[in-house]
């Protein structure tokens, strides 16, 4: 790995986008393998043993589709808030944002904020209505009064594209980070992650996935709180003293207290903001969690808890990053000739050692591994639901599939996705996949979010409009990413990008909304007329929950 600063400068805006800082740093150079870390491995085994017990417990309670997809709707608002926050607090945001803060101070905060601001939007526009209208997947909502086949096919495509890009980034990042933290071989690390995730999801469904996520969220919040506390203690609980020491310790000096080199131009900055803000509201694994609670009231509670927890978590990473500048960046134990030992992502990990010794280092390493596992399990489950519930049961079987068959298909889909994830993780080992999470957010904001929002709030949306707008958004987001600096230059090796910006969302989301609108208002079909007529009934249900599926079937 190069020095942290060099690595960080190497990011494109998109590279640094979205959970990717950690991974992109881990991925731009090959992570060097560390000596076997026994404490960490023992702690990780304890975590795995505990989660397998949970999976066994959950498996005995998972009999129906509703159990598998939504834990029977029996998750409380607080539990769901923790699980959602857990989905969001990936190893990448923990290690990545603290690494960004370590590398350039204030700039790390810009990213942290971008990740948070999507939550209020979900609350104001989506959460309650989604719960009232849907059952298992967001396609239930989008296709509520529109054509089942085209809308579910489109939503499943949006889901699978989002999930695949996210999964590749997570798997490759997992392999690299585990190589770093545990000293395990890359391929073995990827396989362990893949196999454990298949086991959790296939047997334990949403119930196991949720509890694995909750446990991890508690461990991560606890660990990060301890680190932030120890950092503040080392500076006598004085914020001024923390910043003063950091400025003194950092090679950039006072520059770390102000916006620096990340934001290149206003278009990129706003486009990135749009991807983060509205992409969050289109991430299938996040949206699916709203169906695990009893009703709209619990859904609302979960967003508030999640927003609070995620906000708190990013405050911690900010303190941790500055703490690392002071306690890690000045300690020869954690440095080698080039910079941080093990690469820039190791800032928080070294800080764990600095404030808590070998035992705490092992704990944080194990939590980082657990985090990856929990996140990929949620991703896989949402991908599997798109295959079994949307494609198999509603497109292929036209809604006639029985519970048992659909459940079986969802398990096959989980296993297939898990194997695919392992394969992709291994295939992309040497690739720079930094753009992938950025792309996942852009697709979510451009293909999934417009359809969900308009189907709920605009009477005029027709099947034709949704299909045109959604596909255009999906296509534009992918195309512009490929033609932009992150892929065209960094991956394909061309000199100049065809599309100048790293973040396509400002264009691709606009295209999607215009496509939906234009495709709908020019739709004079009889079907369009019927769809508009159904809006009244949908509106009553979405606003009041009248007739909404009682979440729990037992």
């Amino acid at each position: 790995m190069s020095t942290p600063l060099k690595t960080l400068r190497g990011f494109g805006l998109l590279g640094a986008l979205a959970a990717t800082p950690a991974f992109s740093a881990a991925l731009e150079g090959q992570a060097e393998k560390q000596p076997l870390n026994l404490t960490a491995i023992v702690m990780f085994f304890i975590f795995v043993a505990a989660t397998l017990c949970i999976t066994w417990w959950a498996a005995r309670r998972t009999h129906s589709r509703a159990d598998f997809y939504t834990a029977g709707g029996g998750i409380t608002g607080f539990q769901n808030g923790l699980a959602i926050a857990g989905d969001y607090m990936s190893a990448a945001s923990f290690l990545g944002i603290s690494a960004l803060v370590f590398g350039s101070g204030f700039d790390g905060l810009i990213y942290a904020i971008g990740f948070l601001v999507g939550w209020p939007v979900i609350m104001f526009m989506i959460a309650e209505r989604l719960r009232n209208l849907g059952k298992f997947t967001f396609a239930d909502v989008a296709s509520y009064r529109l054509g089942q086949k085209p809308i579910r096919t489109l939503s499943a495509a949006g889901t699978l594209v989002t999930v695949s890009f996210y999964l590749i980034a997570q798997m490759v990042g997992a392999g690299q980070l585990i190589k770093l933290l545990f000293g395990l071989d890359y391929n073995i690390a990827v396989m362990i992650v893949g196999v454990l995730m298949i086991v959790y999801v296939t047997f334990g469904g949403m119930l196991a996935t949720t509890w694995v996520q909750i446990i991890k969220a508690v461990l991560l919040l606890g660990g990060a709180s301890f680190m932030a506390f120890m950092v503040m203690r080392s500076v006598g609980f004085s914020v001024d003293e923390l910043f003063r020491s950091a400025i003194a310790a950092h090679t950039d000096g006072e520059a770390i207290m102000a916006p620096g080199k990340f934001v290149k131009d206003p278009v990129s900055a706003v486009s990135l903001g749009i991807a983060l803000m509205f992409g969050t509201a289109g991430l299938p694994h996040i949206l699916m969690r709203f169906f695990t609670v009893k009703d709209a009231v619990e859904a609302r509670k979960s967003v508030l808890y999640a927003t609070g927890l995620v906000g708190y978590f990013y405050l911690l990473t900010f303190i941790i990053g500055f703490g690392a500048i002071v306690l890690v960046g000045t300690n020869a134990l954690y440095l080698d000739g080039a910079g941080l030992r093990g690469g820039s992502n190791m800032a928080a990990v070294h800080l764990a050692h600095a404030v808590g010794g070998d035992l705490f280092l092992g704990f944080i390493s194990a939590v980082a591994f657990a985090t990856i596992l929990a996140v990929v399990a949620g991703l896989t489950l949402s991908g599997a639901a798109a295959v079994s519930h949307d494609l198999y049961a509603n497109v292929f079987k036209r809604g006639t599939a029985n519970d048992v068959d659909e459940l079986r298909v969802s398990r096959y889909a989980t296993i297939a996705l898990g194997i695919l994830a392992i394969g992709l993780g291994i295939a992309f080992e040497k690739q720079n996949v930094a753009f992938m999470v950025g792309l996942a957010f852009a697709v979510a904001a451009s293909a999934n979010f417009p359809i969900i929002l308009l189907s709920m709030l605009w009477r005029g949306l027709t099947t034709r409009g949704a299909v045109i707008g959604g596909s255009l958004g999906l296509f534009t987001a992918v195309l512009l990413t490929v033609l932009g600096p992150a892929v065209w230059v960094k991956v394909l090796g061309h000199v100049e990008p065809i599309f100048p910006y790293d973040a396509p969302a400002i264009f691709s989301m606009t295209v999607a909304f215009i496509g939906c609108w234009l495709g709908s208002i020019t739709d004079r079909s009889e079907q369009a007329r019927i769809e508009a007529m159904r809006y009244g009934e949908q509106l009553v249900r979405s606003e009041t929950g009248y007739g909404a599926a009682a979440a729990s079937n037992h």
């Binding site: 204030f106 905060l109 810009i110 942290a112 904020i113 948070l116 601001v117 939550w119 209020p120 939007v121 609350m123 104001f124 526009m125 309650e128 914020v239 001024d240 910043f243 003063r244 400025i247 006072e254 207290m257 102000a258 916006p259 620096g260 934001v263 131009d265 206003p266 900055a269 706003v270 903001g273 803000m277 009231v297 609302r300 509670k301 967003v303 508030l304 927003t307 609070g308 906000g311 990013y314 405050l315 929002l453 308009l454 709030l457 605009w458 009477r459 909304f513 007529m533 009244g536 009934e537 509106l539 009553v540 606003e543 009041t544 929950g545 009248y546 007739g547």
Partner: protein, 118 residues
């Protein structure tokens, strides 16, 4: 967002005719109209506020980074309280929505559902 709905449109006679009677009663209830008007207004205000705060922050970084570098204390720059302020504002706006929802929307929603019975 331009896509926020207008407040309750009256139903066309044709649309009203094909709604189930209980759903129609809810749709035409005063509570339902009030619920939609109030919730949409609050959601719109809060969404606009959130976007103004966030994109204001982003544009300040893009156009006037030196503004955020102004020192407010011995070492602390304006960017730090502003950045933390955006985080706290996100949480606060979400909490405001929940407060209104708990105190008003749930009541109106229950009232609307009750009007399903003739």
């Amino acid at each position: 967002m331009s896509s926020m709905p207008s407040s309750a449109q009256p139903l066309s006679a044709q649309e009203a005719a094909q709604l189930p009677p209980d759903v129609l009663r809810i749709y035409q209830s005063a509570a339902f109209t009030e619920l939609r008007a109030r919730r949409n207004r609050l959601a719109l205000i809060l969404t606009v506020a959130m976007c103004a705060i966030y994109y204001g922050f982003v544009l300040a970084i893009a156009f006037a980074p030196q503004l955020l570098a102004i020192k407010t204390g011995e070492v602390i720059t304006l960017g730090i309280p502003v950045g933390l302020g955006v985080i706290l504002a996100s949480i606060a706006l979400t909490a405001i929505y929940v407060r209104y929802a708990n105190s008003q929307f749930d009541r109106l929603s229950a009232e609307a559902r009750r009007s399903a019975q003739a």
